[in-house]
C-alpha cells in the first residue's frame, strides 16, 4: 500500500531519509573503504600496465556515477514535469554537484592514468572528450539553477534544459566518435581506454571483485549524498518561503 509517491511529500521524505541516512552513510563508508583498500593494497599489478591498474578502482566507479547521476537527474526532471512533485525537482538539483565532482574525478584519474600509458596527460579520445562535454553540461545546469530566483521557474527551466541537454549529450557522444576517427584513421593507441570501459569482459576476476565493491561504494555514497542534499534543498526552500511570508505580513 505504501506507494513510492508518498515520498513526494517533503515532510515524509525528510522523516524517512533521516531514519535511513545513518545506516546508508555507514554502509557507504564501509563499502568504499573495503573496495579501495582491497584495490589499493591487495591486488596484483597488471602485467602490461603495472601498478597503474589500481587507478581503475577510482576511475571506473566515478565515471559510472557521473553518467548515472545525469540519468537520475533526467528521471527526476521528467517526474517533476509530469507530476510536479517538489522533492523530485530538488533531488535533481541536489544530484548535480555530486555528478559534477564524479566527472572531475573520472577526468583527473583518466588524465593521470593516460600519462604513463599513452604518453600524454590529455588525449582527445572520444571517451575523455565526451566526459569533458558532460562536465560542461553539469556546469550549465548548476549555473541556471543558481541564476533564477523563483524556485518553481528554476525547476521548470532546469528540467527542460536537462531533457534537451540529454539529447545533445548523446548527439555529442556520436559526433565526437565520428570526429576522432576522422582525425586518426585506424588509430590503435586507444586500446588502453577500451580496457577501462569494458571491464566485465577484459578485466579478470582478481581485479573485478574489488572493482564491483568499489562501484557499490560509490553508488551508496551517491545515494547518501543525494538524500542529504535533497533534505538541505527542501529545508532551504522552506526557509525562503517562511522568510517571504514574514516580509509580507
Amino acid at each position: 500500500m505504501a506507494s513510492i509517491w508518498e515520498y513526494a511529500n517533503p515532510v515524509k521524505f525528510i522523516r524517512t531519509t533521516d531514519r535511513v541516512l545513518p545506516w546508508l552513510s555507514a554502509a557507504a563508508v564501509v563499502t568504499l573503504l573495503v573496495g579501495l583498500v582491497w584495490g589499493f593494497f591487495f591486488t596484483p599489478d597488471d602485467y602490461r600496465q603495472g601498478s597503474t591498474v589500481k587507478i581503475i578502482y577510482l576511475h571506473v566507479p566515478a565515471a559510472l556515477m557521473a553518467i548515472n547521476a545525469w540519468l537520475m537527474m533526467l528521471v527526476a526532471s521528467l517526474i517533476w514535469i509530469v507530476r510536479r512533485h517538489h522533492v523530485s525537482a530538488l533531488a535533481a538539483r541536489a544530484a548535480a554537484p555530486v555528478g559534477a565532482v564524479m566527472t572531475v574525478i573520472a577526468l583527473v584519474t583518466g588524465a593521470l592514468w593516460g600519462q604513463p600509458m599513452w604518453g600524454t596527460w590529455w588525449e582527445w579520445d572520444p571517451r575523455l572528450t565526451s566526459f569533458l562535454i558532460l562536465f560542461l553540461f553539469y556546469l550549465g545546469y548548476m549555473a541556471l539553477w543558481a541564476a533564477i530566483e523563483d524556485d518553481d521557474t528554476a525547476a521548470d527551466l532546469t528540467s527542460i534544459l536537462c531533457l534537451v541537454g540529454s539529447v545533445f549529450a548523446i548527439l555529442s557522444r556520436y559526433a565526437v566518435n565520428f570526429w576522432n576517427q576522422g582525425l586518426h584513421q585506424g588509430a590503435s593507441v586507444m586500446r588502453a581506454g577500451a580496457l577501462a570501459g569494458d571491464t566485465e569482459e577484459r578485466v579478470s576476476n582478481i581485479f573485478a571483485v574489488p572493482l564491483f565493491v568499489s562501484m557499490a561504494g560509490f553508488a551508496l555514497l551517491f545515494i547518501a549524498l543525494v538524500f542529504l542534499r535533497t533534505q538541505t534543498e527542501i529545508r532551504a526552500r522552506r526557509t525562503r518561503a517562511l522568510m517571504a511570508r514574514e516580509r509580507m505580513g
Binding site: 560542461l136 550549465g140 549555473a143 541556471l144 521557474t153 527542460i160 534537451v164 545533445f168 559526433a175 565520428f178
Partner: protein, 218 residues
C-alpha cells in the same frame, strides 16, 4: 507571421540592432588568428576551415541575447504571447529573423575571409555550403538558450555557458565538412549528419523553446 518577420528584420537591420556587429566581430577574429599563431601560410591553410567555423559560431553567439531581450524588456513579448500565433511559431520566426540578419551574412563573407587565411581552392565551396547548412541550427539552438535566460538580468555569460555545449555536434560536423572539403576528401557523410542535425533541431527544438518561454512569461 510575415508581419512579425518583417518587423524583426527591420529592427535587426536598423542602427543599434547590431546587424553589422556580428560581421565586424567575425572579421576581427579572422584577422587576429594569424597574429596569434604566426603568418606561416601552410599552417593557416590547414586550420582555415576550423577558424572560419569557430569565428562564425562565436559571432552568432554574441548576437543571441538580442533575439528576445529587447522584446522582453519593452513588453512586446507579452503582447506576442496573447496574439493568435502559437508560441512555437513565434520562436521559429525569431530564429529565422536571427539567421537572416546574422547567419546568412556570415555565410556570405566567409569566403572573403577565407582569402585572408589562405584557404585552399576546393575549401571555398565547402566552407560556404557547410556554414549555409549549419548556421540555421546555431540560430535555432541559440533561440532556445535565449528563451532560457530571458528573465535573468545580465544573463549573457550564462547564455554562452548554456549554449556552447549544445553547439558541439553542429560544430564538429560542420567543421568536419569544411576541413574534408578543403583537403579534397569525401564529404558526404558529415554533410548528411550535419543536415540531419540542422533539420532535426529546426523540427523539434522550437517546442522546447516555446515551453521555456511560456514558463518565463508566467
Amino acid at each position: 507571421m510575415i508581419a512579425l518577420l518583417t518587423r524583426d528584420l527591420r529592427l535587426g537591420v536598423r542602427a543599434g540592432g547590431g546587424f553589422g556587429l556580428g560581421l565586424a566581430f567575425f572579421l576581427i577574429v579572422t584577422v587576429l588568428v594569424p597574429f596569434s599563431i604566426g603568418p606561416e601560410s601552410a599552417l593557416l591553410a590547414r586550420i582555415a576551415p576550423g577558424i572560419l567555423w569557430l569565428g562564425a559560431l562565436l559571432a552568432c553567439l554574441l548576437s543571441l541575447d538580442r533575439i528576445l531581450t529587447l522584446d522582453w524588456e519593452d513588453g512586446s513579448l507579452d503582447l506576442l504571447a496573447t496574439a493568435p500565433l502559437p508560441m512555437e511559431g513565434i520562436v521559429s520566426i525569431k530564429a529565422l529573423a536571427h539567421w537572416i540578419t546574422t547567419g546568412l551574412p556570415l555565410v556570405l563573407v566567409a569566403p572573403a575571409l577565407g582569402v585572408l587565411l589562405n584557404l585552399p581552392g576546393p575549401g571555398y565551396l565547402w566552407v560556404t555550403v557547410s556554414l549555409l547548412l549549419g548556421t540555421p541550427a546555431l540560430s535555432v539552438i541559440g533561440t532556445f538558450g535565449a528563451a532560457l535566460t530571458v528573465g535573468i538580468k545580465r544573463g549573457g555569460l550564462l547564455l554562452s555557458l548554456l549554449v556552447l555545449p549544445l553547439y558541439v555536434p553542429t560544430l564538429i560536423f560542420g567543421a568536419e565538412v569544411a576541413r574534408r572539403g578543403a583537403a579534397g576528401l569525401e564529404v558526404v557523410t558529415p554533410l548528411t549528419l550535419l543536415a540531419g542535425i540542422t533539420f532535426g533541431v529546426i523540427a523539434l527544438l522550437p517546442f522546447a523553446s516555446a515551453a521555456v518561454l511560456r514558463i518565463n512569461l508566467r
